[in-house]
Structure formats: structure tokens, C-alpha cells
Amino acid sequence: MVVKHIDYDKCNDCGICYDICPLDVYRKVGRTHYIAYQKDCMTCFLCELECPTNAIYVGPERGRQPVLPY
């Protein structure tokens, strides 16, 4: 599920999510940022925690199921 959506009624186009995402998940069109590479999200919550308008929601499930040891 990873980063699920940006609420554009709340988003103020500040770009913090794009700026900080460690996995480079966001891209922008003009001033508007969007989730471009959702499966790469590692559910670290940094974008949601730092979004000044609470516009981002991150779900807890992984984007890809990795191989497990057993």
C-alpha cells in the first residue's frame, strides 16, 4: 500500500515531500507534486511526518514483498 495519496485540497505545493523522499518517489508537473514511483516507497513516513498541511497518507504495508530467510 505504501504512500497512498496526496489530498490536493490540503496540499500547498511546498515540495517538501519531493525534496526529502529517500527513495525519490515524487515528481512534479509545474508546481504540483505527485506520487510517481509508488512501489519504491519504503513506508518510512518521513513525507507524511513533515508535510505541513497533513496532505499525505502512508499505509503500513510494503510496496514489494521481499524474499524472506525461511
Binding site: 513516513f45 511526518l49 521481499p66 524472506l68 530467510p69 525461511y70
Partner: protein, 576 residues
């Protein structure tokens, strides 16, 4: 993306902007003074990239007024199974508290609380994973990184965010440049310098864990290809984590009373480590988990119901990201057991890297390394929690000071036609996936790489046959998959380069694991199931010579603590 879009010159270039790299940048600037130019580049945004922002609250620091140096030395070397660089242990113990105090003071100047304090105003100290006499401080990692970013800027250090360094250019035995690309701006950068500090991280193979999925060994591979000597890759490491969610914080969880239970409800860790039990080191935990499952007593659960109300609040405060996951998944880890598994970390933490001396020098002139790109020399196999941050702090500061000092007298290496031709050649190869009209997307290669490394026979309870099969897979994958990787854009290009790097690091790990014919630390060999102090008090070194990968065992000094027994029982074996 063209050949080179941007040229950036410096006296000292630091690659990697976590705790070690940021401190290296600050210290190098101090050593160089006003006229010196220091540049720090990071694959992400410095302060929100790599492991440091997710460091789960613990920074171990020796406190001379309270602690006994001999006791700490004995503990770290015994727990590190004698593989430690003991001179590094001594240096680290001397300097880890002053480094912590320095960062805390800067934080106070900016109104940021970096270290937690007790009711008397001293740094809060606790014991968690692996600590007997040793103790750790409790650090707030995001304010720590905000402090370092502000300090870098205040000191006049140039920060370049989103530059993924893919290659080091060498000429006549010297590193003359670093090539980077920025997936957001779709540009390439050539970085030149007098002195270089390598301070990025290792490779986690996009495995289960929070905050590690961008760590793909990029700079370890660049250093290896440049001829930098590395070691201890057979100690590829694991943390432990939830089977279903990417969370962190195990040090705190076991520090507040978390217990591991097998399918029979037994608190089994006491059978593997009668002294530390649930607070045993990572190698004890992950090998014991695999053994319990192999012998039919799995799965393993973490039970944190014994944590006090105050400790539950502390966990929530220090680990906000993990608790957002728990809350949204509808799980209260203090009320219900959570299925817990080994979480493969690869070459981060204690799992192998660039070999350095106590001045943070590598085997190449004017090249230093610090932090997690090294094997964390004081750790040995893996000693106790909080050493990683403590070492990143000390080595970052020392590497920066020494690099700054070096750059004062070093000359800038030449960058002529020959060197620029090498840059062109490297870029052509790295950008090739962008030029293909079709092919295999990078993420299609992830399962092959993970299946070659993470299953228990290669990752944990190892056998020669499983290791040989893994090596064959990784070698074949480099021949078959890399030439057909396709990147529709610069983001996917970065992922394609990550695939190349993960395959190479995996190959170095497995080659090293085949070389060490004993069991020690994370390295358990079913065919050599004892720790052999007579023949294997050696580091497994690895270095590129020509086109060959040279792997060899190397003796090292043990000046303060030596093992008493010739043969010992390694982690992962039930003792009672």
C-alpha cells in the same frame, strides 16, 4: 542526460551525508580554515537520507567519570569475537563522548534537543542489546541530522543533495574525480578534489527494514573498482524485524523488556546466550531464529507486554515512524506478540567494507573513509548496540580533520585528456540503460538477487554448496541481466545502477564467506561449525587487481585482549 552537465571543484569532497559524512564535512572545513572549499554530496537529501535519520535512538558513549576502560575493552572484544581492531576500540572510547557533546551543544544553539537527559541534567544512559557494563545514550536522530545540516551550512560547506556517485576515476594510482548523477534534474556531475572522504553506506539489497532501501553499496562498489582494499564481507549482517512490516527499534524494544518466544512458548534465547538472553547480539538472535525454525520450533514472536507505561511512551517518542506503522496496521506490540524474523542487512553496520587505519586512511593516497562504508572496525563481528552511531561520530570527525589537514599540503591531481576520456567511457556504460528502447526493468532483477543471498543456506546457516550455487547465480546474473537492463527515465536509471552494485557486493560477500572456513559472528558454516582461534584470527581481505578479485586472509594485531581457547562455540548453537 548528456556527458557531463556540471563540474564541481573542492579541496575536500565528502561523499555521503549521514552522521559520519556530515561531521567529516564540518571537521574538514575547520581544518582547512576560511579559504578552503569543502563539498558534501548525498544520494538523497542530506539529513533525510541513509540510516542516520532512522538511527533508532542509541549512541553508545564511554563516560570516563563513570566507566572502566578495561571492562569496556574486554566486553567489546569478547562480544566482537576477537575480530575487532582493538586500537580503534581504544580511540573510539576516548572520543565518542566529546563528539556527542559537540553535536548536542550545536543542537542547543539551534534550539534542537539531540540527546535525552535524566532528571539531573546528564545524558540519559541505558543498557539494551549486548550491553553488560557498557551503556548507551539516547539520541533523537532527526534533530541530530537537522543540527548537522545547519552546522554545515553555517560553516560554509557546500551541500549537493541528490547526487548519486557511481564511479571514482583513477589515474596513475590516484583517485582524480568522482562521477555522479541526479535523477531528479536528469543531470550528471564531475566532482574534483585534492582529498576525498568516502562516507556513504553499504548495501542492504532492498530487504525488509525501514530506512535502508536506498542503500545499495554504490560507493563500496566504486571504491572496489578503484582498487581500494576492503575486508570482512563474510560478516554480512542482519538485524531482526517484523515479518510483515518495515519497522525499526529493536534495541529499545529489548531494552524495555521485550522477549522472544518460539512456537512452544519458550523464551529460547537464554539457551543460546545464557548471559544476555533476549538482549543478545544480533548474530546470536538471527542464527538462533534460523536454528529454531530449522529444528521445527518456529515461528518466533516478539512479546513486549512487560514494558512499563513510561517505557512504552519512550518507545513512541523515539520511534515515531515505527509506531505510525503499528497504529495503522491495527497492532499494539505491547499487547500482542508480533512475528519476528531475521532482517537481512548485508554490508551495512558490521557487515564489511573499506579497510581503514585509525587515521581513517585507505590504501590509496589522499583517500579517507568513515562511518558505515567501513566494516566498523571496533565492532569486530558485532559487539553491542549503539557502536554504529558512536563509531560514525568519531570516524567522521577524525576523517574530516585528517582530510582537511591532508588537503592543505596536497596538490590537485591532473584532469587531462586521458582522465576525461575515462569519464566519458564510464558515463557511456552507466547511461546505457537509458539508451535502450526496451529490455528488463531494474526491479525485475530484485528477486533474483535476493533469492541468491537471503535464504538461510546463504544468509545464515551457510553451507559450501549453497554458497557456491549463489556465487554462480550472481556471476551469471551480471553477465545475463546487466546488458539488458532498460531505464525509461533517470529514476529507473539510478535503479539500474543499483542492480549492478547489488550484484557486485553480493559477489564479494559470497566469495569472502567461502574463504572463511570456520564459524564466527554472523558467519556460521554448517561444514565448519566451530570458532577456530588457532587458524582464523584473520580478516578476510578483498581487492581488485587487474580484472581479478583477490581474496586473502590477513593477520592483525590483538594488543589488549586475546582469546583463551583455541576452539569456541559460535553463535547459533544451543548451549543448554
Amino acid at each position: 542526460m548528456k556527458e557531463v552537465n556540471e563540474f564541481v571543484e573542492s579541496d575536500v569532497l565528502v561523499i555521503g551525508g549521514g552522521l559520519a559524512g556530515s561531521l567529516a564535512g564540518i571537521a574538514a572545513k575547520e581544518a582547512l580554515g576560511d579559504g578552503g572549499k569543502v563539498v558534501v554530496v548525498d544520494k538523497g537529501k542530506l539529513g533525510r537520507s541513509g540510516q542516520s535519520p532512522f538511527a533508532a535512538g542509541i549512541y553508545t558513549a564511554f563516560e570516563p567519570a563513570e566507566d572502566d576502560l578495561d571492562e569496556w575493552m574486554q566486553e567489546i572484544v569478547e562480544w566482537g569475537e576477537y575480530l575487532n581492531d582493538q586500537e580503534w576500540c581504544k580511540l573510539m572510547f576516548e572520543k565518542m563522548l566529546p563528539v556527542a557533546q559537540r553535536i548536542d551543544n550545536w543542537g542547543q544553539q539551534y534550539g534542537l534537543k539531540v540527546f535525552e537527559r535524566d532528571e539531573t541534567g546528564k545524558f540519559l544512559r541505558r543498557r539494551s542489546r549486548g550491553h553488560l557494563k557498557s551503556k548507551h545514550n539516547v539520541v533523537n536522530s532527526l534533530p541530530m541530522m537537522d543540527t548537522l545540516r545547519r552546522k554545515l551550512k553555517q560553516g560554509g560547506v557546500t551541500i549537493l543533495d541528490r547526487v548519486m556517485v557511481t564511479d571514482l576515476i583513477t589515474s596513475d594510482g590516484r583517485v582524480v574525480g568522482a562521477v555522479g548523477l541526479n535523477p531528479q534534474t536528469n543531470t550528471t556531475t564531475l566532482l574534483t578534489f585534492k582529498t576525498l572522504v568516502l562516507a556513504a553506506s553499504g548495501c542492504t539489497f532492498k530487504s525488509v527494514f525501514i530506512g535502508h532501501k536506498e542503500l545499495t553499496g554504490d560507493l563500496q562498489v566504486a571504491a572496489f573498482e578503484a582498487g581500494i582494499a576492503m575486508r570482512s564481507f563474510e560478516q554480512y549482517a542482519s538485524n531482526t524485524g517484523s515479518r510483515d512490516y518495515d519497522i525499526h527499534g529493536l534495541n529499545l524494544y529489548v531494552g524495555v523488556g521485550g522477549k522472544f518466544l518460539n512456537a512452544l512458548g519458550e523464551e529460547f534465547m537464554w539457551k543460546y546466550h545464557p548471559v544476555l538472553g533476549n538482549r543478545a547480539r544480533l548474530q546470536d538472535l538471527v542464527l538462533a531464529f534460523c536454528r529454531e525454525v530449522q529444528e521445527g520450533r518456529g515461528p518466533v514472536n516478539l512479546d513486549m507486554s512487560a514494558a512499563s507505561p513510561e517505557d512504552r511512551q519512550l518507545c513512541r517518542k523515539i520511534l515515531p515512524e515505527s509506531f505510525m506503522t503499528w497504529d495503522r496496521a491495527g497492532i499494539d506490540p505491547f499487547r500482542q506478540p508480533v512475528q519476528w524474523i531475521p532482517a537481512f542487512l548485508g554490508t551495512i553496520i558490521s557487515g564489511g567494507g573499506i579497510h581503514i587505519n585509525t587515521r581513517c586512511e585507505t590504501n590509496l593516497p589522499h583517500v579517507f573513509a568513515a562511518g558505515d562504508i567501513t566494516p566498523i572496525p571496533p565492532h569486530g563481528t558485532y559487539s553491542f548496540g549503539g557502536i554504529n552511531l558512536g563509531f560514525c561520530g568519531v570516524s567522521g570527525w577524525e576523517a574530516g580533520l585528517n582530510a582537511g589537514e591532508d588537503a592543505r599540503s596536497a596538490t590537485k591531481p591532473p584532469l587531462g585528456k586521458k582522465e576525461l576520456a575515462l569519464v566519458t567511457e564510464v558515463l557511456k556504460e552507466r547511461l546505457a540503460p537509458l539508451m535502450r528502447a526496451k529490455g528488463m526493468l531494474p526491479e525485475e532483477a530484485y528477486p533474483d538477487i535476493q533469492k541468491a543471498l537471503i535464504p538461510s543456506g546463504v544468509g545464515y546457516l551457510k553451507s559450501r554448496s549453497a554458497l557456491e550455487e549463489s556465487l554462480e547465480t550472481l556471476q551469471q546474473a551480471q553477465e545475463d541481466i546487466l546488458p539488458q537492463l532498460y531505464a525509461p527515465d533517470a529514476h529507473e536509471l539510478a535503479k539500474a545502477i543499483e542492480v549492478r552494485n547489488m550484484m557486485k557486493v553480493g559477489q564479494l560477500m559470497v566469495l569472502s564467506a567461502l574463504s572463511r572456513e570456520e564459524s564466527r559472528g554472523f558467519h556460521f558454516r554448517e561444514d565448519f561449525p566451530m570458532t577456530d582461534n588457532e587458524n582464523w584470527l584473520k580478516w578476510v581481505m578483498v581487492k581488485k587487481e587487474g580484472e581479478e578479485i583477490k581474496v586473502w586472509p590477513q593477520e592483525y594485531p590483538l594488543p589488549y585482549v586475546r582469546p583463551k581457547e583455541k576452539l569456541e562455540t559460535p553463535p547459533g548453537v544451543r548451549r543448554v
